[in-house]
């Protein structure tokens, strides 16, 4: 064998019907493998949810409790103390819509960015396209958020909003939110894996984004007097549009402008496509 050069070995392998197994496949083969393992992805998302459930006494209730408690804190700190409550005619629903969507976005982006470095147990024992990990995380986060979001309906009704057909659109807004987070984490998960120090920036960037995305105030009102550039950036900030989209379900006056909607769809689509390709290239080169 040592007498064989790599070219001879490759020719011999091809004649004998062997193929390379030490690298991820070509793009189409990679896509097919992802689709073939869809049940695995789903099962892994469910397993992660079960894991969270058994680690806390209150289990899945934390999915609801956590955003509700945060809502209470923000209501007090920002709504009452800093007076942002006057930004909306129904500040409680405004805030709940913002907090639940933000928590989904932040949690999906945080877990998605760290998933490659946090799942060594799994990746050292099983072979599968690594991109299934961030996809499973996004799936898990969406399911959890949708379960928790049920509590938004009684809150809306108690604060005097009449049920409407738009209430059915909530899952749509949540799915778009986690798709956007997935698109971003397809890039960030690779960066964090390569330069471990970058993980320290994830919560800091998220915190900054939270303050500028209008979780507890109305971006349109608060940035009204800001310079044009800043106002444009604030309006095109994707998380901010996603929050508005969830609020629209209960508060029709929150509907984002048409160009904002086109922008959020386009950026999500582009992030997913380019993220997928760049993730695949990274996996092919570095594993």
């Amino acid at each position: 064998m040592d007498a064989l050069t790599s070219e001879e070995a490759a020719a011999l392998a091809t004649r004998s019907g062997l193929h390379r197994v030490d690298q991820a496949g070509e793009f189409v083969a990679y896509l097919q493998e992802c689709w073939r393992l869809r049940y695995f992805t789903w099962n892994y998302a469910v397993s992660r949810t079960i894991l969270e459930t058994i680690q806390n006494r209150l289990g899945l209730f934390w999915q609801v409790l956590n955003p509700l408690l945060l809502t209470a804190v923000y209501y007090l700190a920002f709504g009452l103390l800093l007076g942002t409550a006057k930004d909306s005619t129904n500040f409680l629903v405004f805030l709940v819509g913002g907090v639940f969507t933000w928590q989904l976005f932040a949690s999906a982006l945080q877990s998605g960015s760290l998933v490659l470095s946090a799942t060594r147990d799994l990746t050292e024992s099983l072979l599968f396209p690594r991109i299934l990990l961030p996809i499973a995380v996004a799936t898990q986060e969406t399911l959890g958020a949708l379960g928790a979001a049920v509590v938004m309906y009684p809150i809306a009704m108690m604060s005097g909003i009449r049920p409407s057909w738009t209430w059915l659109l909530l899952p749509f807004s949540f799915i778009l939110t986690s798709m956007f987070a997935l698109g971003v984490s397809l890039f960030t998960s690779r960066w964090v894996e390569r330069v471990h120090d970058l993980r320290q920036f994830v919560p800091i960037v998220l915190r900054m984004l939270m303050f500028v995305s209008g979780v507890f105030y109305d971006v349109t009102i608060r940035f009204h007097k800001a310079p044009h550039v800043i106002r444009t950036i604030a309006n095109f900030n994707p998380p901010s549009i996603l929050l508005k989209l969830t609020r629209t379900v209960f508060l029709p006056d929150q509907l984002p402008a048409a160009h904002e909607l086109i922008w959020i769809f386009a950026i999500t689509f582009l992030l997913l496509v380019f993220g997928f390709v760049s993730f695949w290239r990274g996996e092919r080169r570095h594993g």
Binding site: M1, D2, A3, L4, S6, A9, A10, L12, A13, R15, S16, G17, L18, H19, R20, V21, D22, Q23, R36, L37, Y39, F40, N43, Y44, S47, I50, L51, I54, Q55, R120, D121, L122, T123, E124, S125, L126, L127, F128, R285, H286, G287
Partner: protein, 256 residues
């Protein structure tokens, strides 16, 4: 095997072609003062460790190849590359299908039950939920874990873990099975059933590679073998020829 008939094209199932594996690590230099240490941590140049240097061999249907060497010889890195779990720095692995690996390290989700890990492991092999449901009782049978199957894997003994992984890896008899140190643990009954399963894979026109530092395990399970030290192949050929050299080497190591 790396023998005289390497170019014989019949029954080829795997070709390892000039595999080199290097790791980049941050060199930890020991400065005298705290300041020096901090500077070397941030500025420290990367150090390259050669885990495997230019290893080639071929595997045919029905082969059982042993891979022996003391700790740190690079044999585990090599099988991880064969299983597609790690990229080689240089070289290529050609095979009929991706080898299935049975390793001692790492359980998929240690905090979940053995049952959940079995399902997850089987789905990762590409089985559908229906196929998993059909195969599941059979896997439980192989593992012999009975009621413990519903306990978190974290609570398992190393022997129980080995049985669990063995059940998953061999549930749907793989064409090529890599066994990394996993036969050393477990009781004699498990070892007997594991060895029977290895023989079955070989007789079904598959091949196995058994990695171990223990000469007895290699002797029992393989006919040909490769001995590696520090990433380099020291000897290869019939197991009965190679093992005495390895044992002699271990003997001289002890004297020093």
């Amino acid at each position: 095997m790396a023998d005289e008939n390497a170019t014989d094209e019949r029954d080829l199932i795997l070709i390892a072609d000039h595999i080199t594996i290097e790791y980049e690590v941050l060199a930890q230099r020991h400065g005298r003062s705290a300041a020096e240490r901090i500077v070397s941590q941030v500025m420290g140049r990367k150090q390259i460790i050669h885990a495997v240097k230019d290893v080639s061999f071929v595997l045919r249907r029905g082969d059982a190849l042993g891979l022996i060497g003391s700790n740190g010889s690079g044999k585990s890195s090599l099988v991880r590359v064969l299983a597609g779990l790690q990229r080689p720095t240089k070289g290529a692995v050609w095979a009929t299908s991706t080898p299935s690996m049975l390793a001692m390290s790492g359980v998929m989700m240690p905090d979940l039950s053995g049952a959940r890990n079995i399902r997850l492991g089987l789905l990762a092999l590409g089985l559908t939920p229906d196929e998993v449901a059909d195969l599941y009782p059979h896997v439980i049978e192989i593992t012999g874990l009975r009621e413990s199957i519903h306990l978190p894997v974290r609570t398992y003994s190393s022997g129980m873990r080995a049985r669990l992984k063995f059940g998953i890896a061999t549930a749907r008899a793989p064409e090529i099975l890599l066994v990394d140190e996993a036969l050393g643990t477990g009781d004699s009954r498990f070892r007997a059933s594991a060895e029977a399963r290895l023989a079955e894979i070989q007789s079904n026109a598959g091949a196995v590679i058994v990695v171990n530092h223990n000469a007895a395990t290699i002797e029992e399970t393989t006919k040909t073998c490769i001995w590696m030290e520090k990433g380099i192949v020291r000897a290869s050929g019939r197991t009965s020829d190679v093992l005495p050299m390895y044992e002699e080497f271990l003997g001289t190591q002890k004297k020093h």
